[in-house]
Amino acid sequence: MLLYALKRLAALLPTILVPMVLLFVLIRLAPGGPAGALLGDEASPEQIQALNNQLGLNEPLWRQFINFLGSLVRLDFGDSLFLKANVTGLVLDRLSVTATFVILSMIFALVLGLITATIASRSHNGPLDRILVGFAVVGNAIPSFWLAVMLIGVFAVQLRWFPVAGYAPPTDPIAWAQHLILPVFCLGVLQAAELFRYSRASMLDSMSQPFVATARSLGLSDNTIQNRYVTRMTLVPIMTVFGLSLGTLLGGAVILETLFSLPGLGQLLLTAVQRRDYPLIQGCAFFIALIMVIANLIVDLFYAAADPRIRYGKAS
C-alpha cells in the first residue's frame, strides 16, 4: 500500500510536467504579450522591445524554457508582472479562498446528494422519486454561470438576503458566511445533481442484492439496512464521481469566483490570462495541476479503504 502510494507519487511528476510544457508553449503562441498589456495601446514598438528585453522574453525559446523548468523545480515562479509580488505567495494566498469554496461545496453536494438519493431510492418509482429525478435532470443540464446569475438576481438583487458579490475573511464569520452561501449553493447543488444520479442508481442496485435479504432475515430494521448496508455500497461510486468531477469543480470555481467576485485562485488566473502575466499564469496553472493530481491520488487511495476487495500493490 505504502509502496503503491510512493510509486504513484513518482508518477505524478510527468503528469504535471506535460500540462506545464503545453502551457508554456500555448501562452507564447497566443497573440499579444505582457509588454503590450503593460504599456497599453499607445506604446511604440521600441518601448515594447525594451520591456521584452527587460522581462527576458527576447531570449531564445529554449533558454526561456530552461528558466521555466528551473522555476518549476524551485517552486518559485518569480514575481507577477502586474501585481509586483511573488507568484507562489500570491497563489497560496488565494488558494485558501478557493479551497474553502470548493470544499464547502463538496460537503454540501455530498449531504444533499446522499439524502435525496436515499429518499428517491426508498420510494422507487413513486412520485417523490420522479420529482427528484426531474430535478436532477435539470441540475445536470443547466450551466453553473446561468444558475449563478439567477441566484444573484433573485436572492441578492430582488430579495436582498445576501450580498451581490464580494468576500469577507473568516475573521468576521457572519459576513463570511453571507458571502459564501450563494456561491457554495450554486456549485454544490449542481454537483449534488450529478452525485444524486450515481448514488441513486447504486442504491437501487444494492437494494436488490442478496445481502439485503440476509440482513432482513436476521431482523435488522429497514433504516439500519439502508444506512449501514445500502449506503455503504455507494461509497465507491461517490468517490468515482468526485474524482471525475474535480476538474469540473475547479473549472466551475473559476467561473463562479469571477461572477461572485471571490478573491480565489480562479479569479487570479483569469486576470493573469487577460493581462498575459506569464509568471502568474504558469504559477496558477502549476498549483491547479498539482491539486488535481494529488486529489486524484487521494481518491485512488481511498478506494482501497472503502472497498476491501481493492488492494493495491499486491497484484502481479
Binding site: Q209, P210, F211, A213, T214, A215, R216, S217, L218, G219, L220, S221, T224, R228, Y229, R232, M233, L235, A306, D307, P308, R309
Partner: protein, 329 residues
C-alpha cells in the same frame, strides 16, 4: 424414521397462495394452495425444479417477500398466525425464531463489511450484548460451525474466504439468535461435491444438537434422501406430493415425483442415458387446465383435465393426482 409423535406442528402452512399484482390483468399466482407442516426437530425437504415455487414459499414463511407479493391462506408458527402480523412483529421473529440460510453466501454476505461486523449487529440487536460480548459470541458461533479461531475469519471479508467457509459463516449467522426453525434454501448448490457433504453433515449435527426444525430446499434427490424426514415435491407452484421421505422416494404416488426421482443420477439403474421428462415446465401465465403436469404426463387420463385436489393415501402420504401410481385400481 420413527417420527410419528402427535405433537402440534411448529410450523403449519394451510392453502398458502402467493400472488404478484400485475397491471391491468389478474394477479399472477406464483405459488398456489401449498399446505405442509414441520414439527420441532424435524427436517422437511422441499424439492422441485427451478421456478416451481420452492424459494417463494420459503420467503413467504420467513416474511422476506417484496411488498408487491400478496400471501393468502394461513401460515401458523407456534400457534401464531404469521400472515396477520405487522412488519415490526414479523421482524421480531426474523433470526430469533426463523433463521434463513441462503444459497450463495458470496452474494448473501455484504462485500464491504467485515464478517465480525456483520455477525455482531444482529446479535447485539436481539440480545442487547456489548460489542465485546457480541464478538465473543460470534467467535463461539464460528467454532460451533467448525471454524477454528486460528482462521481469523472474523476479521476477514467475504471475498477472502473459500466457498465452504463462507457457507459456514452464513450458517453461524442464521443460528446466531437461536431460531427454532431454519430454512436452508439450496445451502450447498454453490459448493463443490466434497464441501457439499461437509456442509450437509454440519447442518445435520446442528439440527440434532439444537433440536432445530429445518426446511431444506433442494433439487438434489440424493441430499434429500439422506438428510430429510419428510418431503414435499413442488411442480409449477403447487405441492404435488408430500409424505415421509423414504416412502415417497421408494414408492412415489405422483407421476411427476416418480419421473423426478428416476431422473436423478444415483437412482437411475445403470442406463447410459438418464431418463428425462418430455416437454417443458409451463410458464405461470399459461398453465394448463386441471392437473398442471398432465400435458407431460405419460399416465394422464381424461379426468386429468379437471382441477386436482390433494388425495390422502394414509401414513402421511398425500398427492395431487387422479391416477396415482402404486395403487391397484
Amino acid at each position: 424414521m420413527s417420527t410419528l409423535d402427535i405433537t402440534a406442528p411448529l410450523l403449519e402452512l394451510n392453502s398458502v397462495t402467493v400472488a404478484v399484482n400485475r397491471q391491468r390483468t389478474t394477479p399472477l399466482e406464483l405459488v398456489s394452495d401449498v399446505s405442509f407442516s414441520v414439527t420441532q426437530g424435524e427436517c422437511l425437504a422441499v424439492v422441485g425444479e427451478s421456478g416451481s415455487g420452492k424459494s417463494i414459499t420459503a420467503m413467504a414463511i420467513a416474511g422476506l417477500l417484496e411488498p408487491s407479493m400478496q400471501v393468502t391462506g394461513s401460515i401458523t408458527y407456534k400457534s401464531q398466525e404469521l400472515t396477520e402480523l405487522n412488519p415490526d412483529q414479523r421482524r421480531a421473529l426474523a433470526g430469533t425464531e426463523i433463521g434463513f440460510i441462503f444459497q450463495d453466501a458470496m452474494s448473501a454476505l455484504h462485500p464491504l463489511i467485515s464478517i465480525k461486523d456483520q455477525m455482531i449487529r444482529p446479535i447485539r440487536l436481539h440480545q442487547g450484548l456489548s460489542r465485546k460480548d457480541a464478538e465473543q459470541k460470534a467467535a463461539e458461533l464460528l467454532e460451533k460451525v467448525g471454524i477454528p479461531p486460528a482462521r481469523n475469519v472474523l476479521n476477514s471479508y467475504v471475498h477472502q474466504l473459500s466457498g465452504g467457509l463462507r457457507q459456514r459463516v452464513m450458517i453461524a449467522m442464521a443460528l446466531s439468535n437461536k431460531p427454532s426453525l431454519v430454512i436452508a434454501d439450496e445451502p450447498t448448490t454453490a459448493l463443490d461435491a466434497a464441501v457439499q457433504g461437509q456442509i450437509m453433515e454440519l447442518l445435520g449435527e446442528l439440527r440434532r444438537s439444537e433440536n432445530l426444525a429445518m426446511i431444506l430446499i433442494s433439487h438434489d434427490i440424493s441430499v434429500v434422501a439422506r438428510h430429510s424426514d419428510t418431503m414435499a415435491v413442488m411442480y409449477a407452484g403447487q405441492v404435488v406430493e408430500t409424505g415421509p421421505t423414504q416412502g415417497v422416494i421408494n414408492d412415489a404416488r405422483h407421476p411427476y415425483t416418480h419421473a423426478l426421482i428416476n431422473a436423478s443420477p444415483e437412482r437411475a439403474h445403470a442406463p447410459r442415458r438418464l431418463p428425462t421428462i418430455p416437454g417443458q415446465v409451463p410458464t405461470l401465465d399459461q398453465l394448463p387446465p386441471g392437473c398442471r403436469f398432465q400435458p407431460r404426463c405419460s399416465f394422464a387420463i381424461p379426468d386429468s383435465i379437471a382441477p386436482q385436489g390433494m388425495t390422502d393415501f394414509g401414513g402421511g402420504r398425500r398427492a395431487r393426482c387422479c391416477n396415482p401410481l402404486g395403487i391397484s385400481a
